[in-house]
Subunit: 212 residues, 2 copies
C-alpha cells in the first residue's frame, strides 16, 4: 500500500451505500502534510508534462490543488459550481447532469483564466461517475487549452468515471483506487498500483456514462 | 504599501457598487507564491499564539488557509455553507442572516473536528459586513474552543464587520484594509497599517451589525 492507501485504511470510514468517509484528513479537516505528499507524488507522475496551470473545482479540490501547485510552481484556477448562472464577464460554462442528484449543475470558469497557451493539470479529491471531471475537461477544450493530465486522490474503481476518462486517452492518475468496500467489516480493496488498469471484469459489465 | 496592497493596486479592478475584483490572483485564479507570502505574514502577526488549528469557510478561504497552515504546521478545517441542512453526524451549525442576499445561510462544521482543546486561527479572503465570520466565531464558541485570532486578506474598512469584530476584543489582522474605492478612476485608498484602527469617523457613524 502507498501512503494514501495506508491513511485511508487507518482513518477512512466505510458506510452503507459504498460511501467512503475521509473527512478527518481530506475533505473537511485537511492534513496539510498528507496533501504535500500527494503533491509530490502528482509531480512525480506528471514530471514529463509541460504543465503551467492547475484546474480544480470548489470546494474540496482547492486545498489539494493549492498544495500540489507548489510542486509544479504554477497558479491554480478553481471552477465554480452553480445551479443557476449569474455571469459577470465572459465565462466557460459546462452543463453537468448529475445522475446521483437528478439535477443539472453548471461548472464555470472565467474565460480570461484559460486560453490556448495553457497546459492544464486537472486535480480533484474524488472520482466516481466522473461528471464534474467531464465538465472540467469540456471547459479546457472550450478554451483551446490542453489537458496534460488528471490527478485524483481517491477513485471509486467500481464506478464508471475512471474507465471512461482513460478510454478517452487521458493520463489519469488516481493515488488510491478503491475497487470494493464492505460497510459491515470495514474492508477496503485497493486496485494494485502500477498494473494495467484496463481489462478488468468491470470493463465488460456494460456500464455506461452515468452523467447523461 | 505592503506586498498585498501593491498587488491589489496592480491587478485588482474596482467596479461600481464598491466591488473589488481580485479574481486574477486571490479567489478564482490563485497566485500560490502570493498566498505563501500571506501565510508567512499571518505567522508573523500571530507568532505568540498557541494555534493548533486553522478554520476557514468554503470556497475561497480554503486555498489561503491551506498555504498558511504550512507556516503554522497545523491542520485546516473548512466550514461548509448550505441553505438547507442535511446533517450526517453531529454538527455545529450557525445560522447567518445575510443582509446583502436577504436569506439565511447555515455555516456547518462536524463536531468531531473542533473541541475545547483547540486554539483556532480563523482565516478568510474577504471581510465586509462580517456575517460569515460571526458564524465561524459562534461555531468555535459552541465547541468550547478558543479563537486565538482572525486573519483576513482584504477587509472593506468602510463596512462594519471589522469594527464589530475588533470591538468584541478579537485580534483581527487584515493584510489590506480598503477604506475607499472609486470605480471611475480606479483609485483605492488603503488604511495605513500599524496605526490605531479604532477612533475613525466611521465609529461614530451609527452603523450597526448588518447581519441581523
Amino acid at each position: 500500500m502507498n501512503f494514501l492507501e495506508e491513511r485511508i485504511v487507518k482513518d477512512g470510514v466505510v458506510k452503507e451505500g459504498n460511501v467512503l468517509k475521509v473527512d478527518s484528513f481530506l475533505n473537511h479537516q485537511m492534513d496539510i502534510k498528507l496533501l504535500d505528499q500527494m503533491g509530490a507524488e502528482f509531480k512525480r507522475r506528471f514530471a514529463d508534462k509541460p504543465i503551467n496551470k492547475i484546474l480544480t473545482i470548489e470546494a474540496s479540490g482547492i486545498g489539494i490543488a493549492c498544495i500540489a501547485a507548489q510542486h509544479f510552481d504554477v497558479p491554480v484556477v478553481f471552477a465554480k459550481k452553480s445551479q443557476s448562472i449569474n455571469l459577470d464577464g465572459e465565462m466557460y460554462v459546462a452543463e453537468v447532469e448529475s445522475f446521483t442528484h437528478k439535477c443539472i449543475n453548471h461548472v464555470i470558469v472565467a474565460q480570461k483564466f484559460l486560453g490556448p497557451e495553457d497546459h492544464v493539470l486537472i486535480i480533484d479529491d474524488f472520482l466516481a461517475n466522473g461528471c464534474a471531471l467531464q465538465g472540467l475537461i469540456q471547459i479546457v477544450q472550450s478554451a483551446g487549452a490542453t489537458v496534460e493530465g488528471i490527478g485524483i486522490a481517491i477513485e471509486k474503481g467500481f464506478q464508471s468515471g475512471g474507465r471512461i476518462i482513460r478510454n478517452l486517452g487521458y493520463q489519469l492518475e488516481s493515488l488510491a483506487i478503491v475497487d470494493g468496500m464492505d460497510a459491515e467489516t470495514g474492508r477496503i480493496d485497493f486496485r494494485p498500483q502500477g498494473e494495467d488498469v484496463g481489462g478488468s471484469e468491470a470493463e465488460n459489465s456494460g456500464e455506461k456514462n452515468e452523467c447523461k
